[in-house]
């Protein structure tokens, strides 16, 4: 249900067009502010949802909330976000639109999604080494 709404929202928002996403990041060129409207719209709905959440004992369909508790701002967070931004700028796609585009532009979206799986798998390998696992 949530996924279907999310996918339809992405399609409506124009974010499944890599050129438009790239345009948002292209501040010195042909800047396209659309992405800011998408994020603004989503935050506009989510902010009251968090307020409602703070007054609920448990979610409607589960006995407890499962929310991130990490507070630490560390090099992993910033390094990861930095690397993610590089990929976002190169391809004009982040995970949501990349996956949803499997429905509309299968071949290029599948290449992106496959590479994303590869990147995640490489991370797991390196992370396991670092943790001595």
């Amino acid at each position: 249900m949530s996924g279907v709404l999310f996918g339809a929202g992405l399609a409506l928002s124009g974010m499944m067009d890599p050129t438009r996403v790239r345009g948002f990041l292209d501040i010195f060129g042909r800047w396209d502010p659309t992405l800011a409207f998408v994020m603004g719209g989503a935050v506009l709905v989510m902010a009251p949802a968090w307020w409602i959440q703070s007054r609920m004992r448990h979610p409607l369909a589960d006995a407890a909330f499962h929310l991130p508790q990490t507070k630490q701002i560390d090099p992993r967070l910033l390094g990861g976000a930095g690397l993610f931004g590089i990929g976002w700028g190169l391809a004009g796609l982040c995970p949501g639109p990349g996956i949803a585009s499997l429905a509309t532009s299968f071949a290029p979206a599948a290449i992106f999604v496959a590479a994303m799986i590869g990147g995640m798998a490489v991370f797991n390998l390196i992370d396991a080494r670092l943790r001595g696992g």
Binding site: L10, F37, L78, G89, A100
Partner: protein, 147 residues
């Protein structure tokens, strides 16, 4: 001010954004979880050790594709211009995959869910990936690789 950006799509963007927010709210208030695409995706493919049940992650990821499919089925095709050559997609995908695992989230988890929660981690992560994306695009343009 928007007259300066004739190619922008503010209405569609805002409506789509509201819908994405609603989707994230359904996940939060219904299942009690963050609708983070990179997290759900890596969980569905067995690439992280999150406690999220596999079925929830897999249904969410499948829903993304089904939602987009329904939208184009009802509304007709959407515009999508891809980079020239698969190298961009492969390199982009690798960085996106690695970066979202290391940084625990992407545009949906940090950008939509985390920022609206005023999580300092997510605010900083979002600022970082937007900045790094802008720098990346600027460098690509300087090197003559604009598309």
């Amino acid at each position: 001010m928007l007259a300066w950006f004739p190619y922008a799509q503010p209405v569609g963007g805002l409506l789509g954004g509201l819908m994405i927010g609603l989707a994230a709210a359904v996940m939060l208030l219904g299942d009690g979880r963050i609708a983070g695409v990179s997290g759900m995706f890596s969980r569905a493919f067995g690439l992280n050790r999150s406690a999220t049940p596999w079925a929830i992650a897999a249904l969410f990821v499948a829903g993304l594709v089904i939602g987009a499919l329904l939208f184009v089925g009802i509304n007709g095709p959407i515009a999508a211009h891809y980079p020239p050559g698969i190298g961009w997609l492969i390199a982009g995908g690798l960085f996106v995959g690695y970066g979202t695992r290391l940084g625990s989230g992407c545009t949906s988890g940090h950008g939509v869910c985390g920022m609206s929660r005023l999580s300092p981690r997510s605010l900083l992560a979002t600022a970082t990936f937007i900045l790094s994306g802008m720098v990346t695009v600027a460098i690509v343009n300087l090197l003559g690789g604009a598309w």
